[in-house]
């Protein structure tokens, strides 16, 4: 952990609070912060709708707080850096976005998030009589074998899960239906990441892991959790090949499938590299007879200044396509 994090910050203990101030201002009035909690909500919420609450630890910006907006999340509960939000933040956010039709919790599958969101759900149901359903995102194929899906983490697939569920929550009138669509989305999303260099936590300035100058780690998680294996840095094509092998075999994706494809920057990787990887991924998909309905190449789920990228595929049917293709407007993800 030789190289120290080098960041433009004020008080490292106040990064989340100051970030949320900046985030709200960057949304030009479309979101507001709750007065006493690190949570944000849309200011233009319709009177009646199933509410979609997302959230998790900070430090992965624009995830999650950047994905609140029209056809996306209705609110987000923001934890400290890499730490799940506490139940009181989640409860306060859920109460604010609730519009009489229940609240869907959608977040990445991590022990901390699971426990804190569960506690919040119990409080909401027992004390506030608000119906809550929970869907956990488990797209990281590197985290556990398919038969242990409940041990898989949520990584960049979060974006598609939120995008589809946000659309469903805008159009469907029942919590159970929105939950059904969210589960279908999650069941069809698979991702894998590769780390090239580490990020650092603002408060400690320490890198979250060590990699030699010529090493990469395939399958690394969004907090630097260990991946599938460590190896020498090879070519973009061979790295993409290794990742796609795992991803394609997992669902499995096959000939005739239609997919959405996301190449996501973990932080410090150049778009040039991502586009070069995108080229290879498309060659592979072509070879396999898999059609790309829609592509996203950009920065959505990061681990501070970690260098690396992730590849995400979501298998689509007409319903998923419909919700995915609805226009979206948020600081972190906008498409017409």
């Amino acid at each position: 952990m030789a190289r120290p994090g080098k960041k433009m910050l004020n008080d490292p203990k106040k990064v989340v609070a100051e970030m949320i101030e900046g985030l709200v201002l960057a949304n030009d009035g479309r979101i507001a912060k709750l007065p006493h909690h690190n949570a944000i909500v849309r200011t233009d919420l319709p009177d009646s709708k199933v509410a979609l609450l997302i959230g998790g630890g900070s430090g992965h910006e624009p995830l999650f707080h950047g994905f609140v907006g029209r056809n996306m999340g209705d609110g987000a509960a923001c934890g400290q850096v890499f730490a799940a939000p506490s139940p009181d933040i989640i409860v306060a956010a859920a109460k604010t976005v609730h519009r009489g039709k229940g609240v869907l919790f959608l977040y990445g599958n991590y022990a901390g998030d699971n426990m804190n969101f569960d506690m919040a759900a119990e409080i909401l149901q027992e004390d506030e009589d608000i119906e809550v359903r929970t869907v956990r995102i488990t797209d990281d194929v590197a985290a556990a074998p398919p038969e242990r899906v409940h041990d898989r983490r949520g990584i960049a697939g979060d974006v598609y899960a939120i995008k589809v569920t946000g659309g469903a929550a805008a159009e469907l009138d029942s919590l159970a239906e929105v939950e059904r669509v969210a589960r279908k989305a999650v069941a069809n999303i698979r991702s894998m990441a590769v780390a090239v260099s580490a990020g650092s936590i603002p408060e400690t300035g320490k890198l979250t892991f060590e990699l030699a100058d010529d090493e990469i780690e395939i399958g690394m998680g969004a907090h630097g959790e260990a991946g599938v294996h460590r190896q020498k840095l090879t070519t973009a094509d061979s790295i993409a090949d290794q990742m796609m092998d795992k991803i394609l075999a997992d669902l499995p994706f096959g000939r005739g499938d239609e997919v959405a494809l996301m190449i996501n920057n973990l932080g410090a990787t150049t778009m040039m590299e991502m586009l070069i990887v995108n080229r290879r991924v498309r060659q592979i998909l072509d070879r396999e007879g898999i059609r790309v309905h829609r592509s996203d190449v950009g920065t959505w789920v990061t681990t501070q200044e970690m260098a690396g990228l992730s590849i995400t595929l979501m298998k689509l049917d007409e319903e998923l396509k419909h919700y995915l293709d609805l226009p979206a407007e948020s600081l972190g993800y906008s498409r017409m």
Partner: protein, 210 residues
């Protein structure tokens, strides 16, 4: 050497415990860097700084209230896995002191037992998964078995926790962020278990000193 602690001593103990955790935040962070995401020390510090502030802001009116105050502060300030677990330990453990105006050997053991039970439920874990529970469970068992005065029970709990921390080095993590390391988590102690031991050792230190 205190055989029982009244409300003001219990409050003082909780403050001493908070300070001990805060002082060792860097140790916790480094342990979490080795097998987790490196935020355990900062999270624990936030939680126990919150606990200190809360105990100062509204001095608790009962021992179980004091423990609940600490639990609430951890739950809302620490966040992450540790916030939920240690928040639950103090909040649910407080039941051990319900209706009592002193901490004695029996209520101390009851605190650990009630806390552990709630933690197991909340975490959905069993012993051996390389978590806080692997320090807490032997501590709770030892405190119960010690069956003596408060100092003896507190000593047994602290020792049990330390043995537990040692034992986590030989465990492969099967929950939390360290899970992905698999075999590579071997040799490292569990950060959350270290925190549990710091808390129990600080409790015993306070009891032994006062």
């Amino acid at each position: 050497m205190a055989d029982t602690l009244d409300l003001s001593a219990a409050t003082a103990m909780l403050k001493a415990v908070s300070q001990a955790v805060i002082d060792q935040a860097d140790v916790l962070t480094d342990a979490d860097l080795a097998i987790g995401d490196g935020d355990h020390g900062t999270g624990m510090r936030r939680g126990f700084e919150g606990a200190l502030a809360a105990l100062d802001a509204t001095p608790p009116e009962s021992i179980d209230a004091a423990f609940k105050t600490v639990g609430m502060a951890i739950l809302s300030e620490t966040g992450g896995a540790a916030g939920a677990i240690f928040g639950t330990l103090f909040r649910s453990g407080a039941k051990g002191f319900a209706g009592r105006d002193t901490i004695d050997g029996g209520s101390f053991a009851a605190f650990l037992e009630a806390g552990l039970e709630a933690v197991l439920k909340r975490g959905g874990v069993v012993e051996g998964q390389k978590t806080i529970v692997d320090a807490l469970a032997p501590a709770a068992r030892a405190a119960k078995a010690a069956a003596g005065t408060l100092p003896a029970r507190a000593k047994a709990a602290a020792d049990g926790a330390l043995v537990g921390v040692e034992a986590t080095k030989g465990m492969v993590a099967t929950t939390g962020k360290a899970r992905s390391l698999g075999e590579r988590s071997l040799g490292h102690p569990d950060p959350g278990a270290i925190s549990a031991s710091i808390i129990l050792v600080a409790m015993h230190d306070f009891i032994a000193r006062n």
